[in-house]
Amino acid sequence: MSETTEDQNVRVAAICDQMAALEGPLLPILHEVQEEFGYIPDGALQTIAKKLNLSRAEVHGVASFYHDFREEKAGKHVIKICRAEACQAMGADALGDQIRRHLKVDWSQTTADHKITLEPVFCLGLCACAPAAMIDGKVVGRVSADRILEKVGS
């Protein structure tokens, strides 16, 4: 999946050019690349490095530091369940266990059919409506395992 086509390079380079005038452009570029491809393709690192006059290692170092940036595409649906304290106080641990058992995946894994990726998140700022989750970018509060699974059709 991660082979770099000429086309991919052109798109990454265009993103770099578009963001070049920003002060500290690397994070915005990485976000935009991930938005475009769904992950940070391996080949993109070299293109970005060249454009920003950095080494590939430096770009890799940054991309791998942050939890958001993926090395491979996520499943069709992404479930993020908050594992932080306010949600723990309302049963988030049990909720996470139920979902993991049902999907047969652990945290930060994708189901075998590549349909669902399960990720932990530490706080969505929905601490007064716990437990909370984000499903395909949409927030849900006071959520149950059934409702999460229903939303992703599982």
Partner: protein, 518 residues
Amino acid sequence: MSIKIYVPLDSGSVALGADDVASAISAKAAKTGADIKIVRNGSFGMYWLEPMVEVETPRGRVAYGPVSTDDIDALFDADFLTGGAHKLFLGRTQEIPFLKSQSRLTFQRCGIIDPVSLDDYRANEGLSGLENALKMTDEEIVKAVTDSGLRGRGGAGFPTGIKWNTVREADGDQKYIVCNADEGDSGTFADRMIMEGEPFVLIEGMIIAGLATGATKGYVYTRSEYPTAIDVMNEAIEVARAAGVLGDNILGSGKAFDMEVRMGAGAYVCGEETSLLNSMEGKRGVVRAKPPLPALEGFLGRPTVVNNVISLCSVPVILEKGPEYYRDYGMGRSRGTIPIQIAGNVKHGGLYEVGFGLTLGEIVEQIGGGTASGRPVKAVQVGGPLGAYFPKELFDTPFDYEEFMKRDGLIGHAGVVVFDDTVDMMKQARFAMEFCAIESCGKCTPCRIGSVRGTEVVDKLERGEEPELQIELLRDLCETMKFGSLCALGGFTPYPVLSALTHFPDDFKPRALDIAAE
């Protein structure tokens, strides 16, 4: 004239179904031919009543909540468009006791106005602080903020005016105002709420900070977990730019300030100001050693104010009404108001802005109404994942920076997370270490290695391996982390761990029976 209906766009309300409620009201109105206009406002922060729908009536705004899509037909039947009686009727919004008993200075317009309407903002005294600031010298602005007693609301509690003065006096062709909106502490959502509900107050606060220090460029660094806050902020910035509030000629004064939003990428440690600056520069979010202070060498090595959202949002009211007005709220050295966020297992969860000085017990039992589960409260964590767990015995602690420190705790960003008696404090202590291990930037050893060792020690304790030795080790490890870490992540992780150990020793007894049972 159409009837105005308010349905919050706030993420918390949306998470509880506000979008669906808004669509259902629109659809029903279209069917019945009712002439309505739906305004998506911010939340007042009463999350047990969300989605809370308000209707503008001749006797003021009245509220209904919590509303679900199933209630819409009945609400129309009950004539809610004229404030008719219904089981979800809450009366006039401003008379709801939870709201009425607050002192809303920073959040004064949050929930009331259309977040991206500058006209609404101005009609409610918005921009008066900025207008006053434009008539003052930089020194006078700094003095007003210093005299107000405002301290950093991100957690450190450093006097805002003093920080501003350092930047004001620093040499530099380009200075920056960086708003730390990387609100990662569990139990906190004040930054999110105000960015979603009243973005102009943050813009106004940042412009004033710019005028005071000579900075002409501002950044709001916020979290990727806050997409709505990012959208609302961006829209408000566009509106402010188009109206000449931001740009080369602020309100016709000839002075310049512009700003933009930057999105983090899921790293808790970037809430620490130096790693935030590294992240903005496009580096790994690794902590920098201080000195140099960011005030002197901050973003791109230039003088930079790094302030929390709530600190900056408290500035406009200080400039509008004067430092004394703000300083008159609060107690001791904690002046002004604090938006307390009550969360977790609590009946009335939400945001409560009030002068410093309420006791923890008043906050949890009276305002919060006790637990949501109805079981007894066992522990309350104050100040996020790096804050201490308080037992009921310490409920007389007043909400104040110094008073919390005296009890080996911190108020942090003023998040209060309530746990009932089913919580296992050894598990919470282990989680504190685990969280530190996950989020450590890796720069310093006590945090990077100490947190991993910490989880291992708690695991051994749980298995009953030489428990007394493990407890001694855990305390020793906490000492090392507290005094040997570069930043608050490693340095404050001992707070939840040691407070759990000290106040709930029974939970740290070996689990031999459980293991045998498995």
